[in-house]
Amino acid sequence: MSEEKRQVASPENTDAKTDETHLTNAELELLADELGSSGGEVKRIGYFSLIGRRFVRQRSAMVGLVILIILIILAIFGPYMTPFTYTDPDFTALNVPPNATHWFGTDGGGFDLFASVVHGLGRSLAIGIIYSVLTTIIAAIVGTSIAYVRGVPEKIGMWFLDMLLIIPSFLLVAMVVRASSGTEGWWMLIVGLTAFGWIGYARTLRTMALSLRERDYVRAAKYMGVSPIKTIIRHLIPNLGSILILDTVLGVIGGINSETAYSFLGLGIKAPDTSLGYLLSQGSSAMLSAPWVILIPSIVLIVLCVSMQLIGDGLRDAIDPYSRAAGTVEDDAEEDAATTETAKA
């Protein structure tokens, strides 16, 4: 690696604030190839490893990812870190502030808040992720199918989507979930949210698929006798891939927000189960005497949502070849240098 070439990359690193020194992702790739120590040879990498490389370059996205991983670890192993559970109250400690025994304190019923929060965090994550993945799958299939069929069926499909959109999904979800019991409630919440959460999204994806359906490979598939279902699954949906992944990540935030809202209103997750939204509704009645009962779940929710947002933003910048927010290639170059050095040795 020559000293001269290093200087090419350094200005944008030190002076990242002004517009002119920001490079687009595509330009960064060229720079990375130039910096690469493989002697002018262009390194070929697959699309997803390219996206991965651009993602890793961004500091804020990595911070988000690290926070999310910490939260997931907390949700999985948290219940084993404390002797208390979210179902068994400790009657010797009612409404105590955070201390050595009860790390996050207890609420008015003597329930350990740490145990409740880690359990609720797990619930929120599970609901958010499952909801988001399911709605993306349904919306992708319905949206692209409606675009693919054209003509009268397309019109009918769009009419139904519009019609479903004007019913307040809040009512429908609340009705479905309210009828369920306390322990099964979170599954019903996922079912309810998913059943009515895909509609608007399917409309958006249909609009995006409108240009895809005009492509030659779709026409070729059609005249080669490939069945419509196969064409949709093999050609239309994969070509929306990056948008689908991005929306899945951002959809998790939507799922978490909905869970919080429904549970807070007493229409979602109910006792004996617990979730972050349920904890908030419990805490809001004792805001003055036990502020930690609302503050701690609030902070956990904010951190969770912000980490997902950072990851989503990072992913968006990584997918967009014209984005200028994708960091620097210096790390890549160093990485390359390190690998070639070890290879030489």
């Binding site: 604030k17 002004t18 517009d19 920001h22 009419w159 519009d162 019609m163 479903l164 959109l165 004007i166 019913i167 307040p168 809040f170 009512l171 429908l172 609340a174 009705m175 479905v176 309210r178 009828a179 935030i253 978490i256 927000n257 919080t260 809202a261 807070f264 209103l265 007493g266 229409l267 939204g277 908030l280 805490g283 809001s284 805001m287 003055l288 502020p291 609302i294 503050l295 609030s298 929710l301 904010i302 949502c305 912000v306 997902m308 947002q309 933003d313 200028r324």
Partner: protein, 330 residues
């Protein structure tokens, strides 16, 4: 003009059919999932069987009557008398809804106006300073507020308001209801109203201003790089003039569309905010309906908000047609 009227009429007819189908669907779903009978059966002491049946029959909510029969009577009353039915306790849904719309409008009107003004001007301000610190700061704030759940935002604001109240020893902020003053002095009444409405307005403004801000910023940035703006610059306009006279106007079209939808939202209220601040508007009524097995009430609110959404959609079409010279009615 005749073509324009024809277009609007066709649209409105389509929307009416949509509302009809959607409302009927909601009615059947609500009847399947809600059980007004349990309202009476869970009472202690349990009322005699005949009086339960009688009360349910009187409200047209008896699940022993075939669903189609109930549906016919219900839809007939709406179409002929505009009567949306009765609650399980026998009260009129029309009356309950009309008494609550006022509170929702009071709450939403102010918040909607402020959020449009704040959101759009922030969007224009930050778009002109893309990648500068002002843009980074405000966009950061916006994306933070965008992901915070509404409940958390509202609760934290209430929490800090109460802290301020206890710290100062006077009630500066009221966190429940819309008014508590019953005297006749207009100015004290107004002050009292403002003290009540301030916090919910802040919450609602933050929630919706964020959307306008980020949207307007994106639209204006898209337009700023369009060819016609470059032409205007090449002809000697300053950057500011080019933006104000050309780019801004085009970028306001998509914003106007979302404004149209929010005008309709004024009447349906805000579920979470009304619940947290104990404002007796339509949003709170909606939750109460679901909790009290009030089938007719819930369906009526759903139908009303559906109608508002479609009025918004129609307004959006008209706004876009008025602002965008390229759109032709077809």
């Amino acid at each position: 003009m005749a073509r324009f009227v024809g277009y609007v009429v066709k649209r409105v007819l389509n929307y009416i059919v949509m509302i009809f189908v959607a409302t009927s669907l909601t009615y059947f779903l609500a009847s399947a999932f809600m059980s007004p009978r349990s309202n009476y059966e869970s009472r202690t002491p349990r009322p005699p069987q005949e009086s339960i049946e009688w009360a349910l029959d009187a409200a047209n909510l008896n699940d022993k009557t075939p669903i189609m029969e109930r549906y016919q009577k219900w839809i007939g009353d709406i179409l002929t008398k505009g009567d949306f039915g009765k609650t399980p306790t026998g009260a009129s849904v029309n009356h309950e809804i009309s008494s609550r719309i006022g509170a929702s409008v009071q709450l939403m009107l102010l918040a909607t106006i402020i959020s449009i003004v704040v959101g759009v001007s922030l969007g224009v301000y930050t778009a002109q300073r893309q990648y500068q610190w002002q843009d980074r700061f405000w966009s950061g704030v916006a994306s933070l507020f965008m992901v915070i759940p509404t409940v958390v935002l509202a609760i934290l604001i209430v929490f800090f308001a109460i802290e301020v109240n206890t710290a100062t020893g006077t009630r500066i902020f009221y966190v429940t209801g819309l008014s508590s003053y019953s005297g006749s002095n207009f100015f004290i009444g107004l002050l009292d109203f403002l003290q009540h409405i301030l916090l919910p307005t802040i919450v609602l403004t933050i929630i919706s201003a964020v959307g306008y801000h980020l949207g307007q910023r994106t639209y204006l940035l898209n337009e700023m790089h369009a060819d016609y703006v470059r032409t205007a610059r090449a002809k000697g306009l300053t950057k500011k003039q080019a933006i104000r006279k050309h780019a801004l106007r085009a970028s306001l079209i998509p914003t106007a569309v979302s404004v149209a939808f929010s005008i309709a939202g004024i009447f349906t209220g805000a579920v979470m905010t009304e619940k947290i601040f104990a404002i007796h508007g339509l949003g709170e009524y909606f939750i109460n309906c679901i909790n009290n097995n009030n089938i007719h009430g819930a369906v009526a609110v759903a139908a009303f908000s559906g109608a508002c959404t479609l009025v918004g959609a129609l307004l959006a079409d008209l706004f876009a047609a008025a602002l965008d010279p390229r759109i032709k009615m077809s």
